[in-house]
Each structure stands twice: as C-alpha cells, then as structure tokens.
C-alpha cells in the first residue's frame, strides 16, 4: 500500500548544508537525531503489534487455552490449520463475510460515486450538504449499531413503520434482525448508510482532480455528455474509486462491531462473519490455539488480497 502514497515516492536525502554553516551546527548529528525520533514509534509498534503477532503465530501451533494458563502446553504443529481449512463451518463463515464485502462495497461505490458526481456540479450550498452527509462515518460503530437496533424494532421501530407505510405490509409482520433472509440485509443497509459518505469523499477528490481543459477539448470535439462521462470522467476517477474500494474492502473483511451489536451473528449463523466466529472461539470457548490459527489465516488472506489489488491499482494509475 506504500505505493499509493504520493509522498513516499519522493526520496529525500539529508539536507545539504552550506559549507560555511557546518562549523556552527552543534548538538546531535542528523543520523543520531533521526533514530532518536523514529525509535520510540518503532518500539511501541514492536511491543503492541509485532510481539503479539509473533505470539499469535506461536500459539497457533499449540493447544494453549487462555482460561487454563497452568495446563501444560502441547505443540501440535499445523493441526489447527488443517482442521480450520477443512471445516465446512469456517467456509460458511468466509462465504458470509464475502457476501457482506461484495454487497456493501458495491452499494457504497455506486451510491458514493453518484453522490460525488452530483456534488461536483457545485450547486448552491454544496459545502454545507457535503458536511451533513459526512456525519454518519464519523460516528462510533457502537452508537450506530445501537440506534439502528432501535430503528429495527418490529413493534416500535421507525424503519418498520416507514416500510409498512410505503408497502402496506404490517409493521410487525417482519423482523429485520430476527429473520434469516432479512438480517444480512439489515447489516448491509447500516454499513451502506454509515460508509457511503467515505466513498463519496474519495470519489469527489478524484472528480476534482480532473483538469478542466480536458472537458474543454472534448467540447471542441463535440463529444456528447454521455461520451465525456465514459471517456473522461470515469477513467480519470477510476484510481480514486479503486482506492475507496480497497479501503472499504479491507475494513469490511474485518467487520466486527456492527454485526456484534446488531445481530451477534444470528439468527442461527446467517450473519456470522469471520470476525464473529473468531471472537466466539477466542473469548467464549477460549480455544486460544485454534483461534490464533484462524486469526493468522484471516490476516494472510486480507494481506494477500490487498497486495494483489494494489498491484492492479498501480497498473491503472500508471496508464
């Protein structure tokens, strides 16, 4: 993902010092100062990110259980990995996760790009309305999960009332969070509500980065609006759209908070995404070794997919 940053492309060398100034410079050398500045961050990340990761890798080869710290730890080799990769329940959870990732990212991208396209028309007051639209993504998932649970209440919730009002169905005839077919969509709706603004913001930056002279040239060539959209707007904004898809994809692959709050994985296991399976194994049945192996599998998957995707993104960018 490093390649995405515009800033990291530039490699700076140490600041050239004019010859006359060298005498006057006191204190630490630049190299010492650089390490002094960078080391604390690296140490913190090593302690709270890398050390736990290495520990997870170690635990994934053992039968350790966090609720029985004094039991002897047996080395199991790759047993957990084999049992996880051949477990149909795990594959079902991965399918549920994939379903969420695909639908949320698709809906958010279409809506987000559409909104950005409209806002880019610079109607009166677009700044104010943009800020208002951005609010949902700034909220805590806990708070969002919370009040959507309230909106989805079958007897008293606003969502059911509105749907009943427009469709004529009884408001308590369906339960968004308790129904096998509806509950996955209940979560997709909330995620799209919360994160469409995020995609919109990135797409808006993409649209604003297209220089005006390209459209002027197209107008001289008498290209239709439709043609301009397909040949200029969409291709020029594509790297930004892909970036938004990448960030949303990674986030939704890890999706935990919204599901945990809205359905807790139920009804049955219809909304049981990978993170929920992992939480159950790790913090409810305390199968630490098993859940560590699953965590590593998830991390490798998201890391691998993200890397492949970034390669594609860079190819689009360099076109």
């Amino acid at each position: 993902m490093n390649d995405l940053s515009t800033s990291s492309q530039i490699t700076y060398r140490a600041v050239p010092i004019r010859p006359g100034a060298i005498r006057r410079i006191r204190g630490l050398s630049d190299q010492a100062l650089a390490w002094l500045f960078i080391t604390p961050t690296i140490v913190l990340l090593l302690a709270i990110n890398i050390f736990p990761l290495v520990w997870t890798i170690y635990l994934s080869f053992t039968n350790y259980r966090a609720n029985r710290p004094n039991a002897p730890t047996l080395w199991l080799g790759t047993d957990w990995y084999q049992s996880i990769l051949t477990d149909p329940d795990i594959w079902a959870a991965m399918q549920v996760t994939a379903h969420f990732v695909v639908w949320t990212v698709l809906i958010e991208t279409v809506l987000g790009f559409g909104l950005a396209f409209l806002i880019d028309k610079k109607f009166r007051g677009h700044g104010l309305w943009t800020t208002i639209i951005l609010l949902p993504m700034m909220l805590s998932p806990a708070v969002v999960g919370n009040f959507w649970t309230f909106l989805y209440q079958p007897q008293i919730g606003l969502f059911n009332y509105v749907v009943a009002f427009f469709t004529g169905r009884g408001a308590s005839s369906f339960q968004m969070l308790g129904d096998v077919t509806l509950s996955p969509w209940a979560i997709v709706i909330v995620d799209a509500w919360m994160w469409t603004p995020y995609v919109m913001l990135i797409c808006l930056a993409g649209l604003r980065s297209i220089p005006d002279y390209i459209y002027e040239a197209a107008e001289v060539d008498r290209a239709s609006n439709w043609r301009q959209f397909w040949s200029i707007t969409l291709p020029m904004a594509l790297p930004f759209i892909m970036l938004a898809v990448l960030f949303r994809g990674i986030e939704n692959f890890k999706m935990f908070d919204m599901v945990n709050l809205l359905t807790g994985g139920g009804p049955g296991s219809t909304t049981e995404v990978a993170s929920i399976t992992l939480k159950r194994a790790a913090f409810e049945s305390w199968r630490t070794g098993y859940s560590s192996a699953f965590a590593i599998i998830l991390f490798v998957t998201v890391f691998g997919l993200a890397n492949i995707y970034v390669k594609a993104l860079n190819r689009v960018k360099s076109r």
Binding site: N2, S8, A14, T41, L118, K121, W129, F150
Partner: protein, 317 residues
C-alpha cells in the same frame, strides 16, 4: 444530467443541471439524517412516547432519558415516598412520579470519564510520537524508509480480534488488563500509524529552506525543529490530533473485548443501559446523544482535512 447549453462553459454546469443535482443530494442528506434526528428526538421522549405505535413525531419533551442515564433509581412504595422531604432537583422529581427515588449516580459518568482519559491520553502520546517520527522520515535518510513506513501502515490491516487475543494474554501477564494505561498504550499504537503518515505529508510541505536558514543563524537541528518546523506544522498537528481523538473516542472492538469494569469506555456501555422492564430507549438515546455531540463539533472543525485523514494522507484535496 441535462444537456449542457453550448453558450455555457463545459466546466460550469447549467443552472438546471445544478438545481437537479442539488435536489438529489439534499434528498439523500435528509434521508441519511433521519436516523440521527430520530435518536436525538427519542432522547427527549418519555418512555411511553418512545415505544408508541405509530411512532410519535410530536410529543411532550421530557428529560427522563437524561436523568435515567445519569442516575440509578430504586423503586419505593407510595407510603415511603410520602415520608420523604421535598424532591431534590429535577431528576428526583421525575423519579418520584414513577414511584422511585434517586439512589445515586449511574455508571455512565465513570465510563464517560474513562473515554475522555483514554482518548486524550492516547491522542497526546500518538501525536507526540507521530510528530517526531514524521519529521525523522520526512527530513533524514533512514535505512529501509519505505519498508518501515509500509510496516507502520500494515499494522492497521490486522483484524482487531486477531490482535486482541495475544494482547489480552500479554496484558494479563504484566498487569495491564482492564487498566486505563493499557488502553491508552493500545490506542496509541493503533493511532500512531495514522499520525506518522498524516504528519509526514504535512511536514513534507514545509520548505526545508526554513530550517537551513535557522541553522545558519546558529540553531542546532533540534532547535530548528522546535522553533521553526513545529510552529509551521500546527494546523497539521491539530488535524491529526482530532483524527486520533475521534478514533479513540469511537473505538468499540478492543473496548468490548479487553475492558470489563475498571477501564471500560462509553461505547461498550451504552448498549447495555437497561431500565426496569426491558430496554429503556430514551436513556439509551440520551447516552448516545451526549456521546455524539463532540463528534459533530469535530466533524465541522475537520471538514477541510477529512479526506487526508481518512485515507492516511494517500489522497489529498
């Protein structure tokens, strides 16, 4: 998309197009705001109004939800309440009308204070560490710079649950589990990656000639950093701080897995505010509304920097 008039410049959409686009966006904004407005309205309803069907848009405002979120109450007999003196304050008054008396403050305040301490503590640490590292990465030749920067970013790709298991074990061993310090350190480590990436972008934009000039005037490199670069980077540092604050303020997954009583923040607590006889929705809504206020203020303050902040500076406006 109406056909653009040839008389207008292409880059300036026609008035009709603008109006139509504006209409659609405003419509979306209103629909997207309904859940938020609804929760704020609910926080001012009485428990009966909150669960009435059809949902009430017009109602008699009540502060019962706010009282319930800040106090614990105990049910008393009418005879006992008669023997008490006059109600002390608004909440006592409301409680007595439901045959209850205020027994003391609720757990919401300590949870809220935990949120404040943990969010501000981790923000200060993350911004301090991030500023130093960002300056280091921006100005000096660091071996494996790109790899280090990528490593810092990749720490954000881990699912929180995956890291939570060993952190839980680690904290249990060193005595940091369910402590504010433990949560501050954890959130700092999550935020520092964002801080480094964002601040590096901001510091890259400050011309290095300023420091050179200062050093020629006899400042050391460190003095030049403190007296020249830091003041120039104030806006960037402030924006980064608010992003870190929002993250730590909103974080839910680590909080729900790693804290239980002592260091629990408000996000995992709000959903479990239970009243007598089921969920006390006005109280939950009140707890939520209070929790929303700082975020709304920050969003308005941040709108110029939002894009940079949510994309780690990978996209700039």
């Amino acid at each position: 998309m109406s056909a653009s008039n040839a008389a207008h410049s292409v880059v300036e959409p026609s008035t009709g197009t603008r109006r139509f686009a504006g209409l659609l966006v405003v419509l979306y904004a209103i629909i997207t705001m309904v859940p938020l407005i609804w929760i704020v309205l609910t926080s001012f309803k009485s428990p009966d109004d909150a669960i009435s069907y059809p949902p009430k848009v017009l109602f008699k405002p009540s502060l019962e939800g706010y009282c319930n979120v800040f106090t614990t109450r105990s049910r008393q007999t009418q005879e006992f309440i008669q023997t008490l003196g006059p109600p002390q304050g608004l909440c006592d008054n409301i409680a007595r009308s439901r045959n209850m008396v205020v027994a003391g403050p609720s757990n919401y305040v300590p949870r809220f204070i935990n949120s404040l301490i943990i969010a501000f503590g981790s923000t200060v640490l993350a911004v301090a560490l991030g500023t130093l590292s960002a300056y280091g990465f921006s100005r000096f030749r660091v071996p494996l710079k790109d790899d280090l920067l990528f490593f810092i970013l990749s720490t954000r790709m881990m699912p929180p649950i995956a890291v939570a298991i060993p952190i839980y074990l680690m904290y249990r061993t060193v005595g940091l589990s369910d402590t504010r310090l433990g949560m501050i350190l954890l959130y700092t480590s999550v935020n520092v990656s964002l801080a480094v990436w964002l601040l590096k972008g901001f510091i890259d934009e400050i011309p290095r000639e300023y420091e050179e000039a200062a050093m020629i005037d006899g400042y050391t490199r460190f003095q030049a950093f403190v007296k020249v670069v830091l003041p120039q980077a104030t806006t960037g540092i402030a924006a980064t701080a608010i992003f870190c604050l929002i993250f730590a303020w909103n974080e839910y997954a680590f909080a729900v897995l790693l804290t239980s009583g002592n260091a629990q923040t408000a996000p995992p607590f709000i959903p479990i505010i239970i009243g007598e006889g089921g969920q006390d929705w006005p109280a939950v809504a009140a707890g939520t509304t209070i929790f929303l206020v700082p975020i709304v203020v920050f969003t308005v303050l941040l709108r110029k920097h939002l894009l940079r902040g949510i994309t780690f500076g990978a996209v700039r406006k």
